[in-house]
């Protein structure tokens, strides 16, 4: 694996750190001994052909694979230096700190307001209605959705358009003040305009959260991320600055994939 130093890399500790992480589904190894640092200040993109393990790896960062009975994770993943797979780890708490946005928008079949308020309420983030209202408004504003929904917060979240639903899901994720947001192909079900809005949003959220995005669109990875990791057959092949990966990749397998020569 080739790793290039970031030219303006901060000396700060990475937000998340994976070391020799392997993920198995039964006997099948989906991810093979991958190590990577996720910094706070950047958007990190995971790219690679279908079945390369990038989504599996992403889901290991908030233990989403725990829900699959046959899945098993080896190696360590740390959040601020704390092993998230240690025994006694509060997984619900972990998933509040490491939020996730999925491929298809999946709002709860509840009001727009409730979609955002649900997390802060169950995690006890809000003291009273006014406080909760403020959290809902702030989250919807950060997700770039407030102006479009402020007059119909009581309407069902599922009545929104696909792009609005996805931004609602992002608002829901950021309502619980996460430190990391994992996005698994967040725009694959959206049209180009809704996609552009999500990408603009990702750019605005950068710096406030560590963001990791899995995408099948090279152009999207190039547009939104500062660092890109290329996965192939469960291995991390190349990890570096996005501009370098897309203009001068060092590994021929990376080059073949991003230029459409992947057989």
């Amino acid at each position: 694996m080739v790793t290039e130093p970031l030219s303006q890399r901060s000396n700060a500790e990475p937000k998340m750190r994976a070391r020799d992480v392997s993920v198995f589904y039964g006997d099948k190894k989906a991810i093979d001994a991958v190590s990577i640092d996720i910094p706070s200040e950047y958007v990190t993109a995971f790219i690679g052909p279908s079945g390369c393990g990038k989504s599996t790896f992403l889901r290991a960062f908030n233990r989403m694979n725990d829900t699959i009975a046959s899945a098993r994770v080896e190696g360590t993943i740390e959040l601020d230096g704390e092993d998230i797979y240690k025994s006694g780890m509060d997984v619900v708490q972990l998933r509040a700190r490491v939020g996730m946005v999925f491929q298809k928008p999946n709002p709860f079949p509840k009001s727009i307001y409730e979609n955002v308020a649900y997390g802060p309420r169950i995690h006890g983030f809000a003291e009273g209605k006014a406080d909760l209202d403020a959290i809902v408004e702030r989250s919807l504003r950060r997700a770039g959705l407030w102006e479009e929904v402020k007059d119909r917060l009581a309407e069902s979240g599922t009545a929104l358009s696909g792009g609005q639903q996805q931004r609602l899901c992002i608002a829901r994720a950021i309502a619980v003040e996460p430190e990391v947001i994992l996005m698994d192909e967040p725009c694959s079900a959206l049209d180009p305009i809704a996609t552009a809005k999500i990408e603009e949003l990702i750019d605005e959220l950068r710096g406030r959260y560590a963001i990791v995005i899995v995408t099948h669109s090279m152009q999207q990875a190039a547009r939104v991320s500062q660092r890109t990791a290329f996965f192939h057959l469960g291995s991390l092949i190349e990890f570096g600055e996005t501009s370098q990966i897309f203009t001068t990749p060092r590994e021929s397998r990376t080059q073949d994939y991003i230029t459409g020569r992947y057989g």
Partner: protein
């Protein structure tokens, strides 16, 4: 090189490279014939060089249009992107080389008393060197060979040295025979044009290097 999954993209790139090769061949021929016309005073040949330059202009236009189309439709990345950007810039540079040759050809009729000019043989040798640079840099392009490209770049110093020598020679000539000043001044422009052709061949070589490895030869090796 591994083929693209989309075969039509490979065909586009092959066609683009073919157009560049065609331009290179025409430019090399233009230098040689312009010099031959200059040395022998063959105005008919000079006119042919001038007329044929339009073809270079047309090819450059064709390459421009093709590059815009490829960028819009294929969204190329990595070596494809470098290849296509290099083609765009190289086409512009080779077109300029054609212009310099045309400029030399246009001066053929303005030289009087050819036999008296010893610097004419110097110019012929200088032109040969410049034409070789153009030939070799396009061979390097065809082979995607950064080492040959570097070798062409190193040769530019020789063309520059030739230019200095021709310049001194012509100035001396003018001082000794003021009657030849008008013709000698024309030859100074010819020398200047050849020197510029060497510079453009060097620029093409830098783009060949960039397309092949992702950085310019002057950059620090990484």
């Amino acid at each position: 090189m591994v083929e693209h999954t989309v075969k039509a993209f490979d065909e586009d790139i092959t066609r683009l490279r073919g157009l560049i090769a065609e331009m290179g061949g025409l430019a090399e021929l233009a230098i040689q014939e312009a010099l031959e016309a200059l040395v022998t005073g063959n105005e008919e040949l000079a006119q042919q060089v001038v007329d044929r330059d339009k073809k270079l202009d047309r090819l450059e236009g064709e390459i421009d249009a093709m590059v815009v189309r490829l960028l819009a439709l294929r969204a190329p990345l990595a070596d494809d992107l470098r290849e296509i950007i290099a083609a765009l810039k190289i086409a512009g540079m080779v077109e300029r080389i054609g212009d310099y040759s045309k400029n030399i050809a246009k001066r053929v009729g303005r030289i009087e008393g050819r036999g008296r000019f010893e610097p004419l043989t110097l110019l012929a040798s200088m032109g040969e060197l410049a034409a070789e640079m153009v030939h070799d840099v396009l061979t390097a392009y065809a082979a995607r060979d950064p080492l040959s490209a570097r070798e062409v770049i190193e040769r530019d110093a020789k063309v520059d040295a030739f230019y200095d020598s021709v310049f001194r020679n012509l100035v001396t000539h003018m001082m000794e025979n003021p009657a030849t000043i008008s013709s000698a001044a024309q030859l100074l422009f010819v020398a200047r044009n050849l020197e510029r052709i060497g510079d453009h061949a060097t620029n093409v070589a830098e783009m060949v290097h960039f397309a092949a490895v992702g950085h310019y030869p002057t950059d620090i090796e990484r």
